[in-house]
């Protein structure tokens, strides 16, 4: 009886080990699988050409990802520029100023926002942001814009990454010892001065980690961006120009992928590119966050 229970424990232990290894190895499998599929296009064109050429002519076998990389960078940069100040101010307000009653009302809305599916953000972008840009914003700056632009993509993405940044920054701010802030306040500093000179300084690694995570989230967001960016394979020169981010490229061309030689391989290379960048960004930010947590525990 005794040994039967032990054997059972052993069997389950091994089974769970296998499942754990299998699910962890998904990371490696994705990397290897995507690389394997990109080999044909990598054989034909070098990494340098793929990344810096603007020639996108799949029928002629020319795959330059530069416009798409620039599209992704524009959209991501706009979203961070909009979201970061708003989210920092919001996090300061939630952690330092808001009474617990207001906090209890506010926090659920941030959670609800994070639960809304990407496609809904896309629909909202088409219905609300596009007309807003087309009729109210763009006419002040350029002669004509359809509204479908990197700016629209950036705004929609900014709203999508609000909950991510706010929740991480709030968590980090809450780890700052109360004594530090009290000392600053006792010396006569105002609350804002305390935030600026104590909280921000103390929380800066956590804030950086939050931004890096937000960037990687914005990089990979597909459908919402696809719906509002205009999807024109040229390098954008202003915020009102349409752009064509990498994930949108993959999603949009799935249908014709198999009929043109090398096309599938090129799209898998795009996915590999996204995977590598996001993988690195995630690792970096997670390690920073763990350090922050440790410092708190110590």
């Amino acid at each position: 009886m005794q040994s039967f229970r032990l054997i059972k424990d052993k069997i389950y232990s091994k089974l769970m080990l296998v499942l754990t290894l299998a699910s962890v190895s998904i990371v490696i499998l994705i990397g290897v699988g995507l690389y394997y599929k990109s080999i044909p296009v990598l054989h034909k064109l070098s990494w340098g050409t793929l990344l810096t050429s603007s020639q996108w002519k799949p029928l002629k076998g020319l795959f330059g990802f530069f416009p798409f990389i620039m599209g992704t960078l524009w959209v991501t940069a706009i979203s961070i520029i909009i979201a970061l100040p708003l989210c920092l101010l919001t996090s300061f307000y939630i952690t330092e100023y808001a009474s617990s009653r207001i906090r209890k009302i506010l926090v659920p809305f941030v959670n609800l926002l994070s639960g809304i599916p990407p496609v809904i953000f896309g629909v909202w972008g088409v219905l609300f942001i596009i007309p807003l840009i087309q009729n109210n914003i763009a006419p002040h700056f350029v002669e004509f814009s359809t509204g479908y632009s990197v700016l629209a993509g950036g705004i929609v993405l900014a709203v999508m990454i609000f909950p991510l940044i706010v929740s991480i920054v709030c968590e980090v701010l809450n780890t700052i010892p109360k004594e530090l802030k009290d000392a600053s306040l006792a010396l006569g500093a105002t609350k804002w001065e305390t935030i600026r000179k104590v909280s921000i300084r103390k929380a800066s690694p956590g804030i950086i980690a939050a931004v890096v995570l937000a960037i990687s989230r914005a990089f990979g967001e597909t459908i919402a961006v696809l719906m509002v960016c205009g999807n024109n394979a040229v390098v954008p020169h202003s915020v009102f120009d349409p752009g064509y981010p990498l994930p949108a490229l993959i999603a949009n061309n799935y249908g014709e992928m198999l009929s043109i030689p090398m096309y599938e391989s090129a799209l898998m290379f795009a996915a590999l590119l996204l995977f590598i960048i996001i993988f690195l960004f995630n690792i970096i930010s997670r390690i920073i966050l763990i350090r922050v947590e440790r410092r708190l525990a110590a």
């Binding site: 939630i94 941030v110 996915a271």
Partner: protein, 281 residues
């Protein structure tokens, strides 16, 4: 002195405005969807599959997509649980004490959580090509399972960590094996498992990029795993691209349906997790 006071007040107002913008964006989105979606909402939308000429504005509904989404999200959540419950238990019960391994595993699941669904979609597509599966319900479920495993593992891991250490020690000291101890813990975290299920289901039902390549699209409700299945987000996406006004209207109504479903799921899960955290202390 006055300058400092002014600065304080200025930033205070700025913070309130920023908070209103961030929290208000939720109302703006839901408000827009309701405003545009409600006029096009009717019973046919949720009780009928697309009829002939549906995509040029004739009658029908999106029942095919609703059921397809439920199948995909449900199937993926069940498959995901089968993998993630053992993984979460293994990390917490069998590896406890091996901090380096445990932390590395947690980082890997965090990274997996951060990988965008389009990459899972592309990878799922590779697997399907490799095994010769065509775009089908099965393919969709597989891709979404990959997507929800990290969510499930992370949530369950958090929940198991809230179980008091003493409970484990007591079961071990009574001579239980680690597996028997795990069964005790599992009973303890039942509400937490439910929260994890809701989170994963909510993510699965709303995701497009992972099912785009893998689940296909069909006007009929799939009757086997090998048939293509429509999904609600994809139906919204396709209908919105139509030049026909009625079809666009249906996209708004479909978006309304999806929003309501997801909001209910999110509210339920946060209520549950609150109740759970009350119990555990």
């Amino acid at each position: 002195m006055i300058r400092r006071k002014l600065e304080e007040n200025f930033f205070r107002v700025l913070m309130v405005l920023a908070t209103i913008a961030v929290a208000g964006s939720f109302f703006l989105i839901v408000g827009t969807i309701f405003y545009k979606g409600v006029p096009f909402m009717n019973w046919d939308m949720i009780t009928k599959i697309p009829g002939g000429g549906f995509y040029i504005g004739k009658e029908g509904g999106v029942l095919n997509a609703i059921v397809g989404s439920l199948y995909v999200a449900g199937g993926a959540t069940i498959l995901g649980l089968l993998v993630s419950i053992p993984v979460a238990i293994y990390i917490n019960m069998y590896l406890s004490g091996k901090n380096f391994i445990v932390n590395s595993l947690r980082i890997i699941f965090d990274v997996l959580f951060g990988i965008p669904s389009i990459v899972y979609g592309a990878f799922g597509f590779l697997i399907m090509v490799y095994f010769g599966i065509r775009a089908s319900l099965l393919g969709g479920i597989l891709a979404v399972t990959l997507l929800v495993i990290p969510i499930l593992v992370r949530t369950l891991d958090e929940v198991i960590r809230t179980v008091p250490r003493e409970l484990r020690d007591v079961s071990l000291s009574l001579g239980a094996t680690r597996w028997e101890m795990s069964k005790v813990i599992l009973r303890q975290i039942r509400p937490g498992i439910f929260t994890a299920i809701l989170l994963s289901f909510g993510r699965g039902i709303g995701d497009v990029a992972s099912v785009l390549f893998t689940a296909g699209f069909s006007d009929n409700i799939p009757t086997s795993l090998h048939q293509p299945a429509a999904t609600l987000p994809l139906a919204i996406f396709f209908q919105l691209g139509s030049p026909v006004e009625e079809v666009q209207g249906r996209a708004y109504a479909s978006a309304l349906i999806l929003t309501i479903v997801v909001l209910i799921i999110t509210v339920l899960s946060s209520v549950l997790s609150k109740r759970f955290s009350k119990n555990s202390i």
